[in-house]
Subunit: 458 residues, 2 copies
């Protein structure tokens, strides 16, 4: 008996020393870099759940999956927070050129679009090179027609091509409707040349009539552009069956590794659990879910329990307006000040190349200590003006420090918001690099007394 | 009057000398290499006609388009030859995993497949790594199930990955049905990782029951493979609405530049006019149509009328069993011996890197003269065992000399037989290289007395 108890203690000590005393950040870096954990989490999510648009059956299965997975990964507290979400369904979307030459065109509904009248609508096309050109057009040019905004997205490592183009997706239906258009089709917000159309959220205004809004694949936008450029009148028949299916309850799913010394101080790692409905949401944002969940788990299993709490928040319904993120801020109003720092992974699984921070001056020297840990992984120091990512975009305004771990997004917009967002687009070695960077960042922030609060306002 | 007539004669002479006397093969090479003609032909076909599966409305429009285009390109004789074709229609094809985890899978019907019963069919999946493994299986393993053949295609410049994999597409339904399968799904015969499924012709046998046959996109085959590899029973629901729509008349469209000295000796350049129904048939085989039509046209406009006749044959219904090609041989039985040499372009628009021939010994020295002309374009000499391409594949057996101008097909099977076979996949500079090589080859063969007939039997 005595011997037994003693040997148990010795084993315990050995385990403890291996995991939390002897392990160094070099160990964490190397082990995280060679661990398949993040990839396996994305594999599990995409194969066992698949598409999970907010409020859908897939979304509900994802919430169950996420709780099980976080428990399996060693989070000691796993809980949910209800979020009301609209459940929009895409339905079929079809477009055909009827004049001057018959052609079928691949389109998809933009997220939140209304349907066409049953049987579809027909009209001639008026093409604009940008939202701005549409805004400058006359009612005479547009009235009764189908507006086609034909602006190409530029490929860029940092994804800087997105901003200039996405305005037409979000705002195009409002502007086209103001001038009396019947419908709007935009060239896909994407950098691929393929026949996958890129969906994404769009808005209506109460001031103007709602009109159906869709996106053409880039290859089909090429065809339509060529037809319009012949100078002949081009007519289209468009049918879309999108529909609102009422409100549902979804959930932010939260997992915590409770800190051993300062459990109420929180290092928050975010990603979003929902995806669009056509792909399996591997890069958007299965990758983020895998990266932050695996990173926190590896910190615990390799380095032992951290001093501060590491909290992973898998947000509901990012795609339809950051709804889970807003709910998180509202529901946790009283405790937001306990968040020492937050980071979000929501840009696929391309390698991280830069750390940007938004820290109080006092904590800036510590940024160099973090960078020292992640430089061997190819991550260098950036500015102190980080925005932090969509779901934590309200944090800087609330004084909560954030970091942005900038990823290589050169190919992200080839697949983003298409049926082609699937697991095969993720390179295991790239997602492992992300996992290692997040693990080192979380470890450094959770095992230090440095306090970057409050974040400087911009 | 006199002066007028004289000056006209002078102008005529000048034109003649520019076009046919003074121009050298260097001129032909340079002008053909910088001409956008082939590209513009494919652009016209894909934009103004689009998909053109045999017997369809698109196929009928293509036949009209081809006659107009060949006339526009300066062919002095343009005619058609009727070909009876079956008109199969794809319809929707959908598959869903129902157990152990719900997932939608992207599939497409293989060309010629029957439909599922209305409302679809459901069963468990049995996975095989190849057609051979299926053939070696027992009835017990397969009976009542959905067979999944999961063989990956290897990427290769010469397309050598196709042969080993395509057998499952052509023959899989027969082999699966022999063992009592309900349906068969194969991993797409394609080298992409995307969610486009690759169609292509399949066969039935009168000996066994017809079962529905489809292809999964490679990304979806990955998912299904992962599910099967969990060891749990995987069940699918599959619905396909393919249908036979009876027989139609299509046409081989033929254009000739009649030879000035030996009009009955023919240099034949082939390509096929039909395409599958989901893409716009840009690489398969709009590219070939553009290359051979433009090459012949450029020979005439740059070098003047050739001594032998250059005949462009745009074959009907290659995709469903070389039907137009067989009809061509049958209908022209008496005059086949007049074909001095034939070449076909049906492998996209990748650059040509090698000339293979099947010439009688006496003509072999002339191969070096051709190679001398095309080596500056990166095309080197290959063997004398050429096959010639699908639509002229019966020629060597009939003693008709053929050449194969081998193209770089590294990326061809990323798009082949998918909705993603569109104009943007063709690089203008690559198709221009093809056009220049075909023009030089046709010019050399049509302006020489060399006679490679009869082709050696293999």
């Amino acid at each position: 008996m005595f011997m037994n108890r003693l040997s148990k203690t010795i084993i315990s000590c050995l385990l403890f020393s291996t995991s939390s005393l002897a392990a160094t950040t070099n160990d964490l870096r190397e082990k995280a870099l060679s661990s398949p954990l993040a990839y396996s989490v994305v594999e599990s999510l995409t194969v066992e759940v698949g598409p999970r648009i907010a409020g859908s059956e897939g979304d509900k299965r994802a919430v169950v999956w996420a709780q099980d997975k976080l428990k399996e990964l060693g989070f000691d507290k796993v809980y949910t927070q209800p979020v009301r979400v609209r459940n929009w369904s895409r339905g079929r979307a079809e477009a055909k050129v009827t004049k001057p030459f018959a052609q079928s065109l691949v389109i998809t509904a933009l997220g939140g679009s209304i349907a066409t009248p049953k049987g579809g609508l027909q009209s001639s096309v008026v093409m604009f090179s940008s939202l701005q050109e549409l805004q400058a057009a006359s009612e005479e040019q547009v009235k009764g027609k189908i507006v086609f905004i034909n602006r190409r997205m530029i490929r860029d490592r940092a994804g800087r091509g997105y901003g200039p183009v996405v305005a037409a997706r979000a705002q195009g239906a409002i502007e086209a409707s103001k001038l009396g258009a019947k419908a709007i089709l935009i060239r896909s917000v994407g950098t691929d040349n393929s026949r996958f159309a890129h969906t994404g959220a769009m808005r209506y205004s109460d001031e103007v009539k709602k009109i159906p809004a869709g996106a053409l694949s880039n290859a089909d936008a090429d065809t339509l552009e060529r037809l319009v450029n012949t100078g002949q009148t081009v007519e289209l028949a468009v049918e879309m069956q999108a529909k609102e299916q009422g409100w549902q309850t979804s959930y932010n799913v939260i997992g915590e590794i409770t800190g051993s010394e300062k459990p109420d101080e929180v290092v928050l790692l975010g990603a979003h659990l929902d995806s669009w409905d056509e792909g399996t949401g591997a890069i958007d944002d299965g990758a983020g879910v895998g990266i932050v969940s695996a990173a926190a788990s590896l910190v615990k299993s390799i380095m032992g329990t951290p001093k501060r709490t590491i909290r992973v928040v898998l947000y509901a319904n990012e795609e339809f307006g950051l709804v889970g993120a807003r709910e998180y801020v509202k529901a946790n109003k009283e405790s937001l000040e306990k968040i020492v720092v937050a980071a979000e992974s929501d840009f696929g699984a391309g390698r991280i190349y830069r750390l940007e921070t938004r820290f109080a001056d006092r904590a800036l020297p510590f940024v160099d200590s973090i960078v020292e840990q992640i430089e061997p992984l190819g991550v260098f120091k950036g500015s102190n003006t980080a925005g932090g990512g969509p779901d934590i975009s309200m944090f800087p305004g609330l004084g909560i420090p954030v970091v942005s771990l900038l990823q290589d997004g050169t190919y992200y917009f080839d697949y983003h918001h298409t049926p082609n967002d699937t697991l095969d687009k993720i390179k295991p070695e790239d997602i492992a690099q992300n996992q290692a960077v997040y693990a080192l960042f979380a470890y450094m922030m959770a095992n230090n007394d440095v306090d970057p609060r409050p974040a400087p306002k911009s």
